[in-house]
Subunit: 258 residues, 2 copies
DNA sequence: AATTTTAAATGTCAAAATGACAATTAATAA
DNA sequence: TTATTAATTGTCATTTTGACATTTAAAATT
């Protein structure tokens, strides 16, 4: 009998002094159940202005030590899975307040060869530039092109595939891709990001019309001259409208097939 | 040291005979982690032709025995959470092959007062008529109007709220509501279901135009005379198109706000 | 048998959104 | 001054949408 099970027993002894039957029932139904490790794994997406990337780390524990893996960790006793995901993200990127979304649970009995572990998959979107300023090599994290990533441990490969699909889905309906851009960005930059995520070319004219019609962008006076002679105007998000319209549909991808 | 932890130790003794350091690392990082119970809870939606309903059961174990709860159970050692959800659904409804979708994990440290338990929330859609033929009273399951349900245990109340929101979201984009209708159904029936789920009135003419334009329905020669003198034609799903277009957007709700 | 009743099915039209395509503009480089 | 390059803005036919009205089929009533 483990400590946990003992605790249950005492708890109901106290509450139900006169019911032996009840104590018995608890022991069967609740305490006899198997316990598992619970982990979180984060698929961290970034955008370098040209391509979609993911952040991977070299795993620091057995099994599969030194193999590339998603950023993850076990869920501690005093934290929720969401808490755990935020914690490991901060540990590995130095960033707080990252856009983080619970995605799917991975729970095949033998997905971890050592011991049964269920993993809650998250996907995270971060501004790659923010990260680079805070980079420290303590955790051997590294950005990879999404289409040129190393083999990953366990079922992490599947997690990346699933998360990418979900990112595409979500980004078609909600303005989440801004999370991967700097505060000031240009329309051409934004379009490249959409094209990368959806693996498609978008007509420049129709794209900017749709983006403008959302009313989410505020045009700045400054221009980004790095990409062309003419320069492209910077925009920033209208945060009030962003929050208010987050659930609104955008449909930025023509002839969308998911 | 529990049996599980011992197992890990031996596993790496064997694989890494010459590395004491490695064995040490495993014990810290892997075995020292807390283990939790993992459960599934299913929000089962049904439609009786007039109103949206959910299926609840009287809980058969402490704590909160005899209180109303979602259909749930612990994840067994040899099954995935998906397996577990299908198992408990079959046990409580007699039905197999139910539409089932992983929804969200509920993992606040103190959500279960006895012992830390994480629960994977699922939502399920079933044809309420199919169920009624197989009903047995062994598990005290009962249908409740979604808007007139009893108080639920733990965080099940929140689960229902979340699942309902998700159902609405999903149903706006994908043809999932057919899962709650009999094989033969009429357009007016379908419309009432959409109205129930979205808590709104839809214009009859525009609705049938949109539904027709999906190409998902096949008109039958038979009519349902129960609702009117004229009778409404039965339709059935074009299963090939249903499967092929499942991911396609429908946007059946005008002025949708999620 | 003709008429009434009821809900189902179909029709109209102006406004908005979409997709395909081309011309103009602002800045630097030659 | 001109050429070059990418950013920006524009046109138009087609489709989709939302608001609204009429017709139709069958049973019930007179």
């Amino acid at each position: 009998m483990t400590i946990n099970n003992l605790f249950i027993f005492l708890y109901f002894r106290k509450k139900n002094k006169h019911s032996k039957e009840l104590n018995h029932l608890i022991m069967i139904e609740y305490s006899g159940q198997p316990h598992y490790l619970v982990a979180v794994d984060c698929i961290v997406f970034g955008f370098d202005g040209e391509h979609l990337k993911i952040l991977l780390v070299k795993r620091g524990l057995e099994p599969e030590i030194n193999k590339w893996s998603l950023i993850g960790g076990f869920v501690g006793a005093q934290e929720s899975p969401d808490d755990a995901a935020n914690r490991v993200l901060k540990k590995n990127t130095g960033l707080e307040g990252i856009y983080l979304e619970q995605h799917q649970i991975y729970g095949e009995p033998n997905r971890d060869p050592i011991e049964r572990t269920l993993s809650v998959g998250y996907f995270a979107l971060i501004d790659i530039n923010k990260y680079q300023t805070q980079i420290n090599d303590d955790y051997h994290a590294e950005w990879f092109l999404i289409n040129d990533r190393p083999k990953l441990i366990f079922d992490h490969e599947q997690m990346v595939i699933d998360a990418r699909k979900k990112l595409r889905y979500k980004a078609a309906l909600h303005p989440i891709l801004f999370e991967m851009l700097p505060k000031k960005f240009t329309i051409p930059q934004l379009q490249i990001l959409f094209e990368e995520v959806n693996d498609t070319k978008i007509d420049t004219r129709n794209f900017s019309r749709k983006i403008s019609s959302t009313g989410l962008l505020i045009k700045l006076t400054e221009k980004d001259k790095s990409g062309s002679k003419k320069g492209a105007f910077y925009f920033k998000l209208d945060k009030k409208k962003y929050t208010a319209n987050f659930q609104a549909f955008l449909n930025l991808i023509p002839n969308l097939k998911l």
